[in-house]
Symmetry: C2
Subunit: 526 residues, 2 copies
């Protein structure tokens, strides 16, 4: 297996429990399930931030949000912060993107350093280290859509002859009266998108991934196939728009007691428009079937991709990961969207297919070890034959788990995962009157506990053994003070040991330790 | 006062208590004292790291060591990390260097971004944001001296005709037998350096500073005049080599009890060669007079500089700071060099002359508020007419203190300063068997207490009111557990609130908060 490829598939806002292999009772995801049957399904995989931009920056840099500094959508990743592409390109892998990254370029930083945005280095710095084979973040209202958006050009070439076909076709449906209705509104989630399914973003991105694989030929590659869906707007093309019905919607995980005297930050989030709407059963019953349809559509296109890869012999030498950047509350815990740290938001599907024969022993198994989004970057580096730079990357390679020849006990692996949230940009902050630099929260999740530290507010605590649905916040339970104290300590340990000395490796430090005399520097010598 | 300049003078390894205005009984520093008489003398000024490189990077970036990531000498400052020059240049100040910065360029990072080292941006990125009017870090053993070191060219032009005149003249003396002896060895500290005083590094750098001021003319500037001395090698040219004698040496601040069962990290440092040597009185009695001579020499050249500036009317429009990057144990606490957190190491002189009439009320006063090296960057930005970017800079402008019209109470200012140490590169780490990524320590110094948190070891605690000499480590005193608990909490607070979201200001966050609908993004809307 001399040529090694990596296919890093991400779906946006895909909840772990909306895959059939993760237990959804109604939604079938055979393509993802099939991959899981040939790889390892991680049942406790957590993102390091619960909103697209920062979560992705953690995936792409292999570093925590507080380390890479891009704390919310639209916050530029500081120039010079290394990404997967920077690590893989020297190992010989063409590292490219099809789809979304949510990367905001640090234009000011590039200008200061004289990096021309259209130079090779400038493009890579702007695109998070990926060659933008097809960059498309989705979500193109007229106010922001670029004139030359390739997907719009594609749609226009097919006869969708308007200025912004994304808006008028991909994100619009026709009601019973024949009037065009916008996909932005939840009330229209049941309509079929005006775009034909085979022209939808999901189909198009899959086509583009295959284009890339064909084009790359014998050159080793890492392709980030990053689907825009099932992220809102919740509107699916036929036949996916009505493939599921209200009867297929699983019950909301919520209890009236959660709304009585909630944690202040949670309480503010419950007042967000999306939370108020998803708190209503009629909204859930209309929207969730569309969400399910969008997931099934992604899965069907993955099936198409698997067939293509099979035909091209790519399963022999390609590491494949299917994951998501965060989940979706969909009304659970009286919340919409994501951002807080319940399992619906912070836990993601994570399926890893490792083609190496050393991984044969784990095929079709699942693992409930605590794994993290930041584990992918070192996994990729190791798979590509490199040594993960452990003064930069903050995760651990998952190949140790895919290639394990026996069970790995929890105590041999990390005992807690950390995730972060900066809610400075959200209405909740205004309601709470918190400063932008202080509106932060941190989750520490261990085998049993989920502890959430909020700047300026009391913590939350959930006992995931006694209360797996996280309905009872024990953040103020006096009997659990020792538990909170320990978890707070874990948070302190974690934050002290983030990796900021990124320009010199530990090995280089070892080489330089106490070597001043060899270099001619004598001090303190009599 | 339309033209505004900044003169940022740093002496290297200059202990605060070796200035007469800070109370040295024998050493007179009239030029620094005179500046203090016209400005504010800060009696509790602390560096953010206790070794040259990281301390300077904190001065130059206005950020803590854990934020800028350059944790020791020779650890490159990551490309893109903003410095004083990046903040001042847009305000119209030519920002230049004469002397030492200890900057290591992030060559790898620049290469990744395609920044040519000899482009303007490449030079600035390599020189910590300073125009290198004269860059010279001092310390030039033959192994590392560049062929074209300007100071060596200068010496050769004066007839010091050897390959490395720094080594043979500036860092060498002649013993009674007429043999040349190396300044690297402490035993030669009493000899006069072979270089003539007027050709010494201190004289030369002062000349170069005046060259710069002449050349800059009416253009506003910030000049970092960064003396190489009184840092070791401890060898001074005549007449400074014997201006002070063993009788002028102040007693060592140390107690035999400090060596009995010391803190493990301190104990390891006490085994360093420089500590073992400075523990001997004969070493102190020979070396400290040379150290004092080097300081007096810097002071005499500052007097020359003040005269020059007076003649050129520069006191009317120039903010002047005199400080140091850290102190020098000189045998106190049985230690040599610096790095640990006793006052001799972490406290520095800090004299700020603010030419503005608003500062007239504070001229000649002293302040015992807790100030920090990182306070200079925002002070400079404010002085130059800018607004300190408080999502990047972690200090507070001192102009609030120089321009105070009445006393500022401690509770209106910061209540603790933090400093950091990474001893990964030092022999102590090998002796302790600590990993390079875990050999860290943090100091939290409040009005009364100094708490030091060591990774993997017990803390230290000093009561600066009861024990101002820091002879009794209360790190294990059970009665002080609540104090340590509080200070530990302060450290946790500090480390959580470091500024990593450097690409977007708080004001910009405010503008963007909850504005998704204005930008056309509708989510959660029914």
């Amino acid at each position: 297996m001399s040529k090694k490829n990596i296919l890093f598939v991400m779906a946006d806002q895909l909840r772990a429990d909306y895959l059939s292999c993760y237990g959804h009772p109604k939604l079938q995801t055979p393509a993802m399930d099939w991959l899981a049957s040939r790889g390892v399904r991680f049942d406790r995989a957590y993102v390091q931030a619960t909103v697209c931009g920062p979560s992705r920056m953690s995936y792409y840099t292999g570093r925590y949000m507080s380390s890479h500094g891009s704390t919310f959508n639209g916050v530029p990743l500081r120039v010079g912060e290394m990404t997967i592409g920077d690590h893989l390109r020297p190992l010989g892998l063409r590292t490219a993107l099809v789809g979304k990254t949510h990367m905001a370029a640090d234009i000011e930083g590039m200008r200061r350093l004289g990096v021309a945005p259209n130079s090779i280095e400038g493009v890579l710095a702007s695109q998070c280290g990926f060659e933008p084979y097809e960059r498309d973040d989705g979500l193109w209202p007229d106010q922001v859509v670029p004139e030359d958006l390739p997907y719009n050009r594609y749609l226009r070439s097919l006869g969708y002859n308007v200025e912004n076909p994304w808006h008028d076709y991909a994100n619009a449906g026709r009601d019973e009266a024949g009037d065009v209705q916008s996909g932005w509104y939840l009330r229209n989630a049941g309509l079929a998108a005006e775009v034909k399914e085979e022209h939808s973003e999901t189909a198009y991105m899959t086509d583009r991934a295959m284009d890339f694989m064909r084009e790359a030929g014998d050159e080793p590659w890492c392709l980030h196939l990053s689907y825009i869906k099932p992220h809102w707007p919740y509107i699916a093309p036929a036949p996916y728009h009505d493939m599921y019905s209200a009867d297929d919607v699983i019950d909301a995980v919520r209890d009236p007691s959660e709304r009585e005297n909630p944690h202040p930050v949670l309480g503010a989030y419950m007042q967000h428009e999306e939370s108020l709407n998803f708190a209503k059963d009629e909204v859930r019953r209309l929207v969730i079937p569309a969400y399910m349809g969008l997931i099934r559509q992604v899965d069907d296109h993955l099936a198409r991709l698997w067939r293509f890869m099979e035909e091209h012999g790519l399963f022999e030498n390609t590491l494949i990961v299917v994951t998501s950047d965060h989940g979706d509350y969909l009304g659970d815990h009286w919340l919409g969207e994501k951002e807080m740290f319940h399992e619906q938001s912070v836990r993601v599907p994570m399926i890893v297919y490792d083609p190496d024969a050393a991984a044969d022993a784990t095929r079709g198994t699942s693992s409930d070890l605590l794994v993290a989004a930041i584990d992918l970057a070192p996994s990729f580096v190791e798979f590509a034959g490199g040594t993960p730079p452990d003064h930069i990357l903050e995760g651990q390679s998952l190949l140790r788990l895919t290639r394990a020849q026996g069970a790995i006990a929890p105590e041999e692996w990390r005992s807690a995962v950390v995730s972060e949230c900066d809610y400075a940009f959200r209405g909740a902050r205004l309601q709470l009157g918190t400063e932008p630099s202080r509106s932060r929260a941190y989750m520490v999740r261990t085998e049993r506990w989920k502890y959430i530290y909020f700047e300026g507010y009391r913590p939350q605590l959930f006992d995931l053994v006694e209360d797996p649905d996280e309905l009872v916040d024990r953040g103020e339970d006096p009997t659990l003070e020792p538990v909170r104290e320990l978890l707070r300590e874990r948070l302190f340990d974690w934050i002290r040991t983030r990796k900021m000395r990124v320009t010199i490796s530990d090995a280089e430090v070892e080489r330089r330790t106490d070597n001043h005399k060899q270099r001619g520097f004598y001090f303190g010598v009599w």
